[in-house]
């Protein structure tokens, strides 16, 4: 493999402002990003968060308003997109409808003036690898969605690009094929060792294929990290909420490291982050604006349920837990899910348990608890 192709991508203060009829709109706001050679990196976020615009700026299909994009310590801004040597897979696949599978996949090599025999051998080999052997004479309209997807991958990789860019490549496939294709994309990427940038709005997809993920919200890169790190330690309410499921409890700062969840439950989460004023407003946090405002976040699998009857009044246990009432129990096979209404949680609390919890049924008064090391605190004045 060609060692020269390995390089890291550095994006600094990248900003894109669109001029619209309603005035300028900042689609991407001062994004900083470093992606290592050979890394599979996902840009994740809801639609309109700027992830695709970021990708298109790296590809050169959009011009950045400000900021820099460097690859292998060279500025990309001065290179027209055609000269950046990138491979890209589009959401619509963008296969050339008037060319055969062979001609589509060979396009980049032909543009580079490779000799015909070499092009043919290389493309046939690649098509074989992608499970498209024997289809080289077909036209895109004769192929299934999954096959079209593979052709578009072949076209993007045939000329060994320096970066592999994918813009929501699986959005048009059915659920089963999506799982299969994402595994395949990762396998090929790792085989070639090419740096991949993958845009998706599907957090499960991002978690399953990526080495690292960058989570976007409203043009801002909120957090970058390995899937486990982002899941375990989201640094903002948005990321906590967007990645997996989570419960938010309204809380207030107490003495020392302590945080008191509404309802009187005392906790001292080991992971602590700042609660920004914007998020406090977005999530309608109780007491937003006060320096004592706080939110405690706990994943559903980390919340415990104890029937309230088991606790003796007046004992120390009585204060251990958030009082609530079970509204709904869903037996889902691999787990059981409980929905509990409480005074303290900002929404209904979701609890997931690998097996049904004995003696807990719908309508029952319960207490919810969790360990300090499973909770994340977001503190207004931290």
């Amino acid at each position: 493999m060609d060692r020269q192709r390995h390089g890291r991508l550095q994006v600094a203060q990248l900003t894109k402002v669109f001029d619209t009829q309603e005035g300028p709109v900042t689609a991407v706001d001062a994004v900083n990003l470093e992606v290592e050679a050979g890394e599979f990196f996902s840009l994740l976020g809801p639609s309109g968060c700027g992830k695709t615009t970021t990708l298109r700026m790296i590809a050169g299909l959009e011009t950045a308003t400000s900021g820099s994009i460097r690859f292998r310590d060279r500025d990309l801004a001065s290179l027209p997109p055609a000269d950046r040597n990138l491979g890209m897979v589009f959401q619509s696949y963008a296969l050339f409808p008037h060319m055969t599978v062979m001609e589509n996949a060979a396009y980049g090599l032909r543009v580079r003036g490779s000799p015909d025999a070499k092009v043919k051998a290389r493309v046939l080999e690649l098509l074989e690898t992608l499970g498209l052997g024997g289809l080289h004479g077909r036209y895109p309209s004769d192929l299934s969605g999954g096959q079209q997807q593979r052709v578009s991958i072949a076209r993007a990789l045939a000329y060994e690009p320096d970066m592999f860019l994918l813009d929501e490549p699986l959005a048009n496939l059915d659920a089963k094929l999506r799982v299969q294709m994402r595994e395949e994309i990762r396998r090929i990427q790792k085989e070639l060792g090419v740096l991949a940038l993958y845009v998706t709005h599907d957090q499960e997809e991002a978690m399953s294929v990526s080495d690292r993920i960058g989570v976007f919200q409203l043009g801002t890169l909120m957090q970058v990290g390995a899937p486990e790190d982002i899941y375990r330690d989201p640094t903002s309410l948005f990321v906590a909420d967007f990645i997996g499921k989570i419960n938010f409890f309204s809380a207030a700062r107490a003495a020392g490291d302590g945080v008191t969840v509404a309802g009187g439950f005392e906790t001292a989460p080991t992971r602590r982050h700042a609660l920004s004023a914007r998020e406090a407003a977005d999530y309608q946090v109780q007491g937003a604006g006060s320096p004592h405002a706080a939110v405690v976040a706990v994943r559903p699998e980390h919340v415990t349920i104890t029937p309230a009857d088991d606790l003796q009044p007046g004992t120390e246990h009585a204060s251990r837990g958030v009082p609530g009432r079970v509204r709904r129990v869903l037996f889902l096979g691999s787990m059981t899910r409980y929905f509990v209404t409480t005074d303290g949680a900002m929404k209904e609390v979701m609890v997931e348990s690998p097996r049904p919890i004995p003696h807990v049924a719908e309508g029952m008064a319960v207490r919810l608890g969790f360990d300090d090391h499973d909770a994340i605190a977001y503190l207004a004045d931290a």
Binding site: G60, R72, R74, A94, H98, R112
Partner: protein, 574 residues
């Protein structure tokens, strides 16, 4: 694995770096600038200059100090001007009304009644649009004139005495039957595309068929009716050929322009008449827009469900008789042209007494040069219209820049300008000043080009609209430069649209009269001028023979285009 590939990408300059290649491709901007320049020189400038000249008294130089309203005074002092203005309004409004009223029942019948050979009918309806109306106009003299074939029957059997075919009756008859397909095709298309469930849901709620038609169907297609009617009005107001052939001393604005130019070479006076002509068009456009509003109803659905068809026998018989009868009537002039082209002796009798190819032999020596002229002038103009139409369509759809609306507006301008106005504008502008082209073939080619640029622009725009911009981006990312992407991706995909546009431009230019009559010279006499001269000197036999040739050529071209594109002939004109 990458051995043998030319170096590309970031590492291409070598491991030590060095300055990156900075190759900002200026071609798109250059092309855009040329397009703007061409549009300015050959469209905006002539029209602006003509409008200005209309305020300069004949014989005086164009300057701001000489501006006066003297050319317009005639519209309230001269009886000829006053009547021409009134006649123009009468002819174009009546034609628009009759054409629309003829077209609507036919369009509705096609959408709601089983009609055998429906596609044939749709293709036939294109013929009146392709064949220049003035060629068929004289047929009405042969059919309904003083010694016309039908005149006797109508008089003897029904006791009907028709008004003279020379005058408003003949002009309106000929124009209405030539132009109703504009409304027919547009409305029929809209009805065919309308979601049948909308009508069905009205029916389910208890609305009668008539109520559904009045409250649901009609409002849905009202914008289509309006745009069809606008085309008819603009065409009728600008048509110079039919009132020249059938007008006699009944003048309308276009024939008055012709009279001023041919009789007195009064260009500034002609410009003033053209100005009034344009004002009428704009007024009509504004009124129609006001009436129908900006509403557009898009009811396209993916359903293959067909609309409820009327099954009653009465409705089916009536519908079939109506549409086929209308079509027969509309094609009668064309058929008559072909028929009389074979008539060798036809004098004093109702029908010819001898048939043969004599007329074709007669014109043989004289027809070739005009046809050759028409073909190469039209072909050159077509190539230019295609080239510029494609570039402007591409720029307008793919690039974002300020002032784009101006280009879009400019290019559609000839759509609302009567051809004779373009003719006057060219005559005025290129007769003196920085560019003098009077009497040259170039003048005609540019006139044709500007006149049909919008056709090419529209067909190509539609094709480009079908091409996903991501295809071009994908090509770019694969390493293709601008020119290569256009050549290998965009052009092959829009080629069918370009071909259709080209044939449409070419076939409608072969018989073009209103621009030609202003701009032709002895060396650039076209087939339309030859026919026109025969017709206005009442030499019907050679006119019919040449007319038949023109009708045949254009029909064959449009047929070939529809076969080549796999589209129906009707779709080419919708």
């Amino acid at each position: 694995m990458a051995a043998g590939l030319p170096a590309r990408g970031v590492g291409a300059a070598g491991p030590d770096g060095g300055l990156p290649r900075r190759s900002r491709d200026l071609t798109p901007w250059l092309v855009g600038a040329i397009t703007v320049l061409v549009l300015f020189v050959f469209l905006l400038y002539p029209i602006a200059k003509t409008m200005l000249s209309s305020f300069v008294p004949q014989g005086e130089a164009l300057s701001l100090r000489n501006l006066s309203l003297s050319n317009f005074e005639r519209f309230w002092t001269s009886p000829l001007y006053k009547s021409a203005l009134r006649n123009s309004l009468v002819v174009s409004l009546t034609t628009t009304l009759i054409a629309t009223l003829l077209a609507l029942p036919a369009a509705y019948a096609l959408a709601r009644i089983r009609i055998p050979f429906k596609n044939l009918l749709l293709s036939l309806s294109v013929i009146p649009l392709i064949a220049p109306p003035f060629i068929g106009a004289y047929s009405w003299v042969l059919l309904l004139g003083r010694n016309g074939i039908f005149t006797h029957y109508l008089n003897d059997w029904f006791g009907i005495t028709l008004p003279s075919i020379f005058g408003p009756f003949g002009i309106i008859l000929a124009l209405s039957l030539s132009y109703f397909p504009f409304v027919f095709l547009i409305v029929q298309g809209a009805l065919a595309a309308a979601d049948p469930f909308i009508e069905e849901s009205a029916a389910i709620m208890g609305a009668s068929r008539w109520r559904t038609l009045r409250t649901i169907t009609f409002p849905l297609v009202a914008p289509s009716i309006a745009s069809g009617a606008m085309i008819v009005f603009i065409r009728a107001l600008g048509n110079v050929g039919v009132p020249s052939v059938l007008g006699s001393d009944y003048y309308v604005l276009p024939t008055l322009i012709l009279f001023q130019v041919e009789g007195f070479f009064n260009l500034n006076g002609a410009a003033a008449i053209a100005f009034v002509n344009v004002l009428l068009v704009l007024t009509f456009l504004l009124v129609v827009r006001r009436l129908t509003g900006k509403r557009r109803f898009v009811t396209l659905t993916g359903t293959t469900q067909r609309s409820r068809m009327a099954t009653s026998l009465g409705a089916r018989i009536f519908g079939n008789v109506y549409v086929w009868g209308l079509m027969a009537l509309a094609l009668l002039p064309q058929a008559m042209v072909v028929f009389s082209s074979f008539a060798e002796r036809w004098a004093g009798t109702m029908l010819p007494t001898q048939f043969g190819l004599g007329n074709y032999q007669l014109i043989l020596g004289r027809v070739l040069q005009p046809i050759i002229n028409s073909v190469w002038l039209s072909a050159l103009a077509m190539l230019m219209a295609l080239a510029f139409g494609t570039i402007t369509a591409y720029v307008s759809l793919r690039k974002r820049f300020k002032g784009k609306w101006l280009i879009d507006l400019t290019i559609m301008l000839p759509f609302v300008l009567p051809g004779i106005v373009t003719g006057v504008a060219y005559l005025t502008t290129f007769n003196s000043g920085p560019i003098v082209l009077t009497g040259t073939a170039a003048l005609l080619v540019f006139g044709y080009f500007v006149r049909r640029l919008a056709y090419a622009f529209r067909s190509v725009s539609a094709s480009i609209g079908q091409v996903d911009p991501q295809l071009e981006e994908a090509s770019t990312i694969c390493g293709a430069r601008w020119a290569r992407t256009i050549r290998t991706v965009t052009l092959p995909l829009i080629a069918p649209g370009m071909l259709a546009g080209g044939i449409l431009v070419f076939s409608t230019l072969i018989g073009e009269l209103s621009v030609t009559i202003m701009l032709f010279s002895g060396t650039t006499k076209t087939v339309s001028i030859a026919i026109f001269e025969y017709l206005t000197s009442h030499r019907i036999a050679p006119a019919s023979a040449m007319g038949s040739i023109v009708i045949l050529i254009t029909l064959a071209l449009v047929f070939a285009a529809s076969k080549l594109l796999g589209k129906s002939m009707a779709d080419l004109f919708r």
